[in-house]
């Protein structure tokens, strides 16, 4: 599958890199739950979701590398870049302090991803459209999973309600960055304008929160910077761990 070069340019490469970095960092966090989940079913489900996200990341980073034309493959992009070169939102890099935090992140990010990928599946660029159509189907499972747990934690015990509300409050400010204005490249199509996704995203998330007896936090503080390479302190630790073997053996093949 080859993208028509006329529609591509540096801005499409940057755009694809953002999507790829979001998926990669989210996968790294979700995979961290292996052997630590509250029940074995959840170990399996979270590994499954991590695998899906990693699959998206690999497809997107490979494509970003091709658009760039500098010979960097998915691994060179994942393991060879420094912190400030990553374009993911800060939401996905937040540490999963507890299961409620992991679920809040999965809900907010998953709904965003599904809306975005659904829009991108009609992109003018056929490669991006192909990846998005495939990913949209998988992301629907992630949202289903996150919604199921949001309901159970929000409307479960007093303790779980307290924890889930705290997680929602903690993660909420970071959701604003998902919808920062900035039109996508023409090749991505009109369905991919992040600013336009905020409305449907809010409606869907608010409905889930209400059903889960959780309060929707006020909009206020809106941390940002991920898209331009400014990240949280925790991100450096994530990268240090993820990249160290690759970097300790320059040029080695694995």
């Amino acid at each position: 599958m080859t993208a028509p070069m006329t529609t591509t340019g540096p801005d499409l490469r940057d755009y694809v890199l953002r999507l790829g970095d979001d998926a990669l960092v989210a996968a790294q966090r979700v995979a961290g739950w292996c052997t630590r989940a509250p029940q074995f079913e959840e170990d399996v489900a979270l590994a499954n979701i991590a695998l899906d996200l990693l699959g998206q990341a690999r497809a997107l980073l490979t494509y970003a590398g091709e658009l760039e034309g500098l010979g960097r493959d998915e691994d060179a992009l994942a393991f060879g870049r420094d912190e400030h070169e990553f374009r993911n939102v800060q939401l996905v890099e937040l540490p999963d302090d507890d299961f409620a935090t992991a679920i809040a992140k999965m809900l907010f990010f998953g709904v965003y991803q599904r809306l975005l990928y659904t829009g991108l599946s009609r992109a003018a660029d056929p490669t991006l459209a192909g990846i998005a159509a495939k990913a949209a189907k998988e992301t629907a499972y992630h949202v289903d999973h996150a919604v199921s747990w949001t309901l159970r934690l929000g409307d479960g015990t007093a303790e779980s309600h307290r924890r889930m509300q705290a997680a929602v409050d903690h993660v909420w400010p970071y959701t604003h960055e998902l919808f920062e204005p900035g039109p996508p490249p023409a090749a991505a199509g009109p369905g991919a304008d992040p600013a336009a996704l905020r409305g449907p995203w809010c409606r869907e998330v608010e409905q889930v929160l209400a059903e889960a007896t959780l309060r929707r936090p006020e909009d206020g503080w809106a941390p940002t910077g991920g898209r331009s390479g400014v990240h949280t302190e925790a991100f450096g630790h994530l990268l240090a761990e993820m990249q160290y073997v690759y970097r300790a053996h320059p040029g080695a093949r694995w």
């Binding site: 995979a31 029940q39 079913e41 170990d43 399996v44 690999r58 479960g156």
Partner: protein, 457 residues
Amino acid sequence: MELLDGVPPLGTEELLAEVDAAERELAAGEGPPAGTAPAGDEEGAARFEALIAADGKIEPRDWMPDGYRRSLIRQIAQHAHSEIMGMQPETNWISRAPSLARKAILIAKVQDEAGHGLYLYSVAESLGVSREWMLDELHAGRQKYLSFINYPTLTWADVGALAWLTDGAAVVNQVSLCRTSYGPYARALVRICKEESFHHRQGFDLLYALSRGTPEQRAMLQAAVDRWWYPALAMFGPPDHMSTHSAQSLAWRIKRATNDELRQRFVDICVPQARVLGVTLPDPALRWNAERGHHDFTPPDFEELKRVVAGNGPCNRQRLAHRRRAHEDGAWVREAAAAYAAKHGESREAAEPAPAGEAARAPERTDWPLWEVFVRPRRGLAHSHAGGLHAPDAAMALRNARDLYTRRGEGVSIWVLPAAGITASSPDEKDAFFDPAGDKVYRHPSFFELPEGVEHL
């Protein structure tokens, strides 16, 4: 990356062919599930003996001797625990995998193990115990898991060595168990062997990439093989001359080959593979014996195995603490799921499962007491022990016992007793490791070389 390109055949086709044969046997011998009402001891025993003699499969609703049921529960629980605990040494490297393709393969492998663990727990549950109980036994150290899991994975190469050597040993062991007499377990093993052969191949490929890599990568590979060779050999259990094989064990067709036979088979498979990898197996005595048609080799240090099994391996405490912590940290989540299910009227009895399937079943998974179930199958016969189950109260225990242990209710009388109210004679105090009592050896198929803890059924 060009995964697996140019990797020579692993020589494990023969094993897979055996799995296929066992599967065909299962399919050929399989009728619909037995539709008979639970039989009394006498006719049940006759039917059981006839099935075993005909190399048939025992199914969950069939009558079976109490000892057979208990031995299966212990064995399958230990197998399930090994899948679950075995995730830890591999997960240790997921976050640091040096390529995205390898990371994906490793996540898939760990997912596969968790899936196999789940599958095996549900096979054990078909015998009338709950997963909660099995986990309690694991957390308390009363049920064991395979000893190799108690060794550390120190470098990336250890991930490959684990997959090549210990998964390879597991496949050799499990292939020999595919024709075991309990139907659900046999079917589980066929399926598990097939999926594990895929991961075994990928593990070998990981090492193959290292073998063609830099001097540092090759050194990493050799060191990992040095670390994992003997733990893998020890997986086959104590040597035959130190292990007893009762007539009962063979008669019940749970075990099909001796520890030493399986160990020899594994060594013979590994030697040519090691040559392909360009690694030296850490045994100066290892050489081809033309007379025997097998390789001579140095057996593992069984004193070390004994120490690890007793809880004093490098990582025993760490692994168990990690498992307990995950369980304790998740308690509030499981409680929330149970509370939600209760509020929303989703119970096990509902015809349809709820969104998060497990969550809907969570109420029966909280810490409910264990009940012993006694069934009178027909008038004139005495109540006899059928098995155990978890339930919140006696009424629920009765209902569940009816579902679990009888096919239809007419003329059947059931007693349920809180297990805590039963006083039992003290279990066999013999050293179960090297000298299990003759009547218990069937509980130790070679795959699980571990001694039993206290009896809890």
